[in-house]
């Protein structure tokens, strides 16, 4: 086809739209003359398409398409139908369209008679009865559920993002509350030790956070925090050991190494002793972690208020259990 300039064509039509004369004319689209080179190129392309040998698959497709085309077209509606001698003979017998068969009261054929020839369906594989439709059904279902999912996502996107952000914020607050609780708990223990002990402040030791306490003795409210930290530490050390062992087995004991050297390599002293029950199951903690973050936060806050007279929102330890001056239990109260 010669290339048409759509704008030019459009303008042609607009020019003809003369509302006063009210003549509805066929829009004439002017033929843009193709240039010599354009024609040459088109001819070349066309002859190339003609000359190319079609692949087997292409031919099979064309063959099937031609067949289906022919099968779909009624001979009675063909452009040559009026010339058909067969149809003329039938007309002479009284055929006026419709089905063949016994003359009904209206002089026509059977009311529910056959108008179309029986279809030709070519089976190309050994699929059992119902397989094709089953396949089609599955594809359709998949397509439908896919589009449904996409739609649902589009609608909920903002909601989802908002919810996710809220959850992340709550988890952050939980972790913060846990840290506060741990600190307060630690301070209280130190105090107790300072009072009951020989008066030597041992804060420097405890500040090293060498934790040898079994995890289960820690309050479940912030046990997760410590467990997480211990696990991280263990992983770090495992990686470290692995790294070391790449060059030397950890059990390798070199008698020539002197003590200082060994200490320098960190072989002599274990700085950190892992808690003994780190590898054990902890159903209590699991149950706690199952809870919604808001619920966990609430438990932590009320624990802080009750045991330490501390308000998480005011970030302040009140002198007594009255918590005088704190506006309330929730974050909103502190706005």
């Amino acid at each position: 086809m010669p290339a048409q300039d759509p704008v030019a064509a459009d303008e042609e039509i607009r020019e003809e739209e003369d509302y006063m004369s009210m003549i509805v004319a066929e829009p004439t689209i002017p033929k843009v003359k193709e240039t010599y080179t354009q024609r040459l190129r088109r001819k070349a392309l066309e002859s190339e398409a003609r000359g190319r040998t079609k692949s087997k698959a292409e031919r099979a497709l064309e063959e099937a398409a031609a067949r289906e085309d022919a099968l779909a077209k009624s001979l009675l509606e063909d452009e040559n139908a009026s010339k058909s001698k067969g149809l003329k003979m039938m007309a002479k017998m009284g055929f006026k369209g419709g089905a063949l068969g016994k003359k009904g009261e209206d002089g026509q054929g059977l009311m529910d008679g056959r108008l179309e020839p029986v279809g030709v369906v070519i089976k190309e594989d050994r699929g059992g009865i119902g397989l094709d439709n089953e396949k089609k059904r599955k594809i359709r279902e998949e397509f439908e559920s896919e589009s449904k999912r996409v739609k649902a996502e589009e609608g909920d996107y903002r909601d989802r993002v908002r919810r996710e952000r809220e959850l992340a914020k709550l988890e952050g607050q939980v972790a913060a509350a846990q840290r506060v609780a741990e600190r307060l708990d630690g301070e209280r223990e130190e105090e107790a030790a300072g009072i009951t002990g020989d008066g030597v402040p041992n804060g420097s030791i405890s500040s090293k956070k060498i934790n040898t306490q079994p995890l289960k003795s820690i309050n479940v409210l912030w046990r997760g925090l410590i467990r997480g930290r211990e696990e991280k530490e263990r992983d770090r050390r495992m990686r470290y050991d692995l790294h070391q062992s790449l060059s030397r087995l950890p059990t390798y004991d070199d008698p020539d190494e002197d003590k200082d050297y060994r200490q320098a390599l960190g072989k002599e002293h274990t700085q950190h002793v892992l808690v003994e029950d780190l590898e054990e199951e902890d159903p209590e903690l699991d149950a706690f972690n199952e809870l919604e973050p808001a619920e966990r936060l609430e438990q932590l806050i009320s624990h802080l208020r009750r045991d330490f007279n501390y308000c998480f929102w005011c970030k302040f330890s009140y002198p007594d259990s009255e918590l005088e001056g704190c506006p309330g239990l929730t974050e909103e109260d502190h706005d």
Binding site: L76, S84, K85, L100, G101, K102, P117, K123, I129
Partner: protein
């Protein structure tokens, strides 16, 4: 086809045929011989030839009043001592058979049948397979209709030739008469009846041909259409015809017999004719469906068969598949797998038998062999598996089947007028068919049917009834027959299922191009002549016009060869060897001439000295060739009667083969394809369908124009049995069809135009010379 056998060993049409066919071994009758295995046939006719004088006054029927007899009267007459129809003494064998006959389900309702038969002109009779309707009802009719008293006959039609022959033989035995005398049969190319015949079994097509010359079927006092549920083309036309004849002949009785339950449709069609139903001998059949559709129905079928063998109790298996190749392949695979099961899992022995139409009769008989015994004493019982096409569905009865495996497909003929292709395609069966198949499992005892599709698919995807043949056929031949039957208004002819208007339009058009019908739709002289031949119009026209091409002898042979099954045999085990042998006969101009070469060689002294050996060595079907020989005889007789000259071009003449090819065009000019300029494919003329030459052809792809005998639809479009022709011939021999103004522009039209111009130029130069 199995039913070609008889014509093969019967060069003369009227040879009485007693004793050369053992009915007990006939697949179509086997169910009748359950209790008689010990009896033998062939003897026991002593004395029957004496004392017959043709008058009926002294027979057991002398006090019978036509259409007023009772079951008791008939019973008494049957008890003898003399044959009520010819007064000869009855043999012992007769009485033996009589006993079993009286056990048949139809016998209990004999009086009921008579009451209805006497009261009405048209009766619909429903009896399931095994009820005995095909053999007994015509005899019930004989005792009441007494056709011999007024020189008439009772006709009973069958859709299949083998059935007509074998049932006639059986009934002749039951009535203690000689086949061809009181009881006879008539099938295409073979008539075994005589002046004494009062009961004639015949194919439905034969009755239709008789009606062409005797529009009112005046020879008959009663016509029984058997197996009407099969809805063959001829049965459908006959029903339409009989509806009209019944009005013109109030004395004619008509019985429509069907094996299935859609009998109401027949009742409605025959103006609410009364219905009589006789139950068959059946047991309940449990039906199983698969939970999921199968990916490969053949593989699923094999799996199911083996599973049944491994887990189910004793009982034979019937598996339905679609065609010869598929069946042979399945048989091989089942046998292999079963051998392994026997070796490794101690399964019982398993015998596998194929069953399809083109299987030689002696191999078809094997399906009646009993199941094999256990491999050792106390071992698991043996079993037989029959893998068959839908001929095992209704037409023959195999006892002992307890399990049916039904993948739900069969090969069915389809015709579509829009692309003018008539082909056999694998298609889903109908619900009615599925029920018939299931019923096969309940003949002997309660059985099981495994359907290899889901219950939902059964309900949703299967059509209710198989489309009757009339909706799936090219009607050119039928239209010619109807015209000859004196039916002018084909549009309003009262058919049970009228075809689509386009089908009729195409048929009329084709006949017009073949010059069998003029533009007004009236039969031409050629059309009248063509209708005399039991052939497709294209073949008939080719044959009739062959004298014009000086090769009617050769075209006669070729027509016969095209009317029989494939003459070339190509077993899977020896494809290469078979192809080499075929190459010996190959003619460079195509398959038609190759077939002719085969026939000429077959008729030569070398082959005739031992035809069986010769055919075997050359991978040819002796049966098909003999049958072609027989068809040729019959057609020759019609040609002689029609005063068509039989002639040949001298073999030394360079036009010997050209003339034959030109004669081909005279009949098949509508089945022509032209090579596509791009390569291997061809385009059919006018319909513009892309086709390939069938791989079996001897023709190379360098032929520009080919005429073909068949358009075969598979996953590819093929034309089979092709010969090369010249475009000049097309324009010369079929100018109306090749009127270029009727062609759509395209490659074909351009090429023809070029040819036309060339011819014109040549003529012009000739004239100027």
């Amino acid at each position: 086809m199995a039913d070609r056998r008889s014509e093969a060993d019967l060069p003369q049409a009227k040879r009485p045929r007693v004793g050369d066919m053992d009915p007990a071994s006939n697949p179509y009758l086997a169910h009748m011989y359950e209790d008689e295995a010990a009896n033998s046939y062939g003897g026991g006719y002593g004395g029957q030839n004496g004392g017959r004088n043709g008058t009926s006054s002294r027979t057991g029927l002398s006090d019978f009043k036509r259409h007023a007899t009772t079951s008791a009267q008939a019973h008494k007459a049957e008890d003898g001592p003399n044959n009520p129809f010819n007064n000869s003494p009855l043999s012992n064998q007769y009485f033996n058979i009589l006993k079993t006959r009286r056990d048949l389900p139809v016998h209990k309702q004999r009086q009921e049948f008579l009451d209805m038969f006497q009261k009405t002109q048209i009766l619909v009779f429903v009896g399931e397979t095994g009820s005995g309707k095909t053999t007994q009802i015509p005899q019930f009719v004989l005792f009441d209709d007494l056709p011999h008293f007024n020189g008439k006959l009772v006709a009973c039609t069958q859709p299949r030739r083998v059935a007509a022959m074998s049932v006639a033989q059986r009934v002749a035995n039951e009535m203690d008469v000689k086949l061809g005398e009181e009881v006879g049969y008539s099938i295409r190319f073979e008539d075994v009846t005589g002046p004494k015949t009062i009961l004639k079994y015949m194919t439905d097509g034969m009755l239709l041909r008789e009606a062409m010359h005797d529009h009112n079927l005046t020879r008959y006092s009663c016509i029984i259409l058997d197996e009407a549920h099969e809805r063959t083309l001829a049965t459908d036309i006959l029903m339409g015809l009989l509806k009209e004849v019944a009005l013109r002949r109030p004395d004619l009785k008509i019985v429509i017999m069907s094996a299935t339950l859609d009998a109401q449709k027949f009742q409605r069609y025959f103006n609410d004719a009364p219905l009589l139903a006789v139950p068959g001998r059946t047991h309940p059949v449990e039906i199983f469906y698969t939970p999921e559709p199968e990916r490969d129905y053949v593989e699923a079928a094999l799996r199911t068969v083996l599973q049944i063998h491994a887990t189910e109790p004793e009982g034979d298996i019937l598996l339905f598949l679609t065609g010869e190749e598929e069946i042979e392949d399945a048989c091989r695979k089942i046998t292999l797998e079963a051998d392994e099961m026997i070796r490794e899992a101690d399964a019982g022995p398993l015998k596998v038998y194929p069953l399809y139409g083109t299987l030689p009769p002696h191999q078809q008989q094997k399906i009646f062999d009993p199941a094999p015994p256990p491999a050792r004493k106390g071992g698991r019982p043996g079993r037989k598996v029959i893998v068959g096409t839908n001929i095992a569905e209704t037409s023959l009865t195999i006892d002992g089947i307890v399990y049916v495996v039904d993948p739900g497909f069969s090969k069915q003929k389809v015709y579509n007028p829009r692309i003018r292709v008539e082909s056999l395609l694998v298609s889903p069966i109908s619900k009615a068919s599925a029920q018939q198949r299931a019923g096969r499992a309940g003949r002997t005892r309660p059985g099981k049917c495994f359907r290899l599709y889901t219950e939902a698919a059964f309900k949703k995807e299967l059509i209710e009834q198989t489309y009757p043949e009339i909706l799936r056929s090219n009607l050119a031949n039928t239209v010619l027959e109807l015209k000859k039957l004196g039916i002018d208004d084909l549009v309003h002819f009262d058919l049970m299922d009228p075809p689509a208007p386009e089908t009729l339009m195409r048929a009329l058009e084709e006949l017009n191009y073949l010059a069998c019908l003029d533009d007004d739709g009236d039969l031409t002289a050629l059309g009248k002549l063509a209708s005399e031949f039991p052939l497709d119009p294209a073949l008939a026209v080719m044959l009739i016009s062959s004298p014009e091409f000086y090769c009617s002898n050769e075209i006669l042979s070729l027509t016969a060869l095209l009317s029989v099954p494939q003459i070339f045999v190509r077993p899977a085990s020896a494809k290469k060897r078979a192809d080499e042998m075929k190459a010996l006969f190959a003619h460079p101009d195509g398959d038609h001439l190759t077939m002719l070469n085969v026939y000429h060689a077959f008729k030569g002294p070398a082959a005739q000295s031992d035809p069986k050996k010769w055919c075997h060595e050359h991978f040819l079907s002796l049966r098909a060739l003999q049958s072609a020989d027989n068809v040729r005889q019959q057609l020759k007789r019609i040609m002689e009667k029609s005063e068509l000259d039989l002639m040949s071009t001298d073999f030394q003449d360079k036009n010997y083969y050209t003339n034959i090819r030109r004669a081909l065009v005279a009949g098949f000019f509508m089945q022509v394809a032209k090579k596509d300029p791009s390569g291997k494919t061809y385009k059919t003329v006018k319909d513009d369908q892309s086709v390939l030459l069938h791989p079996s052809t001897v023709l190379g792809v360098d032929s520009e124009w080919v005429v073909y005998n068949e358009f075969v639809l598979t996953t590819k479009n093929y034309v089979r049995t092709v010969s090369s022709v010249k475009p000049e011939w097309l324009l010369d021999i079929a100018p109306t069809y090749y009127d270029l103004s009727t062609f759509k522009s395209g490659e074909v039209k351009t090429a023809l135009q070029r040819t036309l111009d060339k011819v014109k130029r040549k003529q012009a130069t000739k004239r100027t010379k």
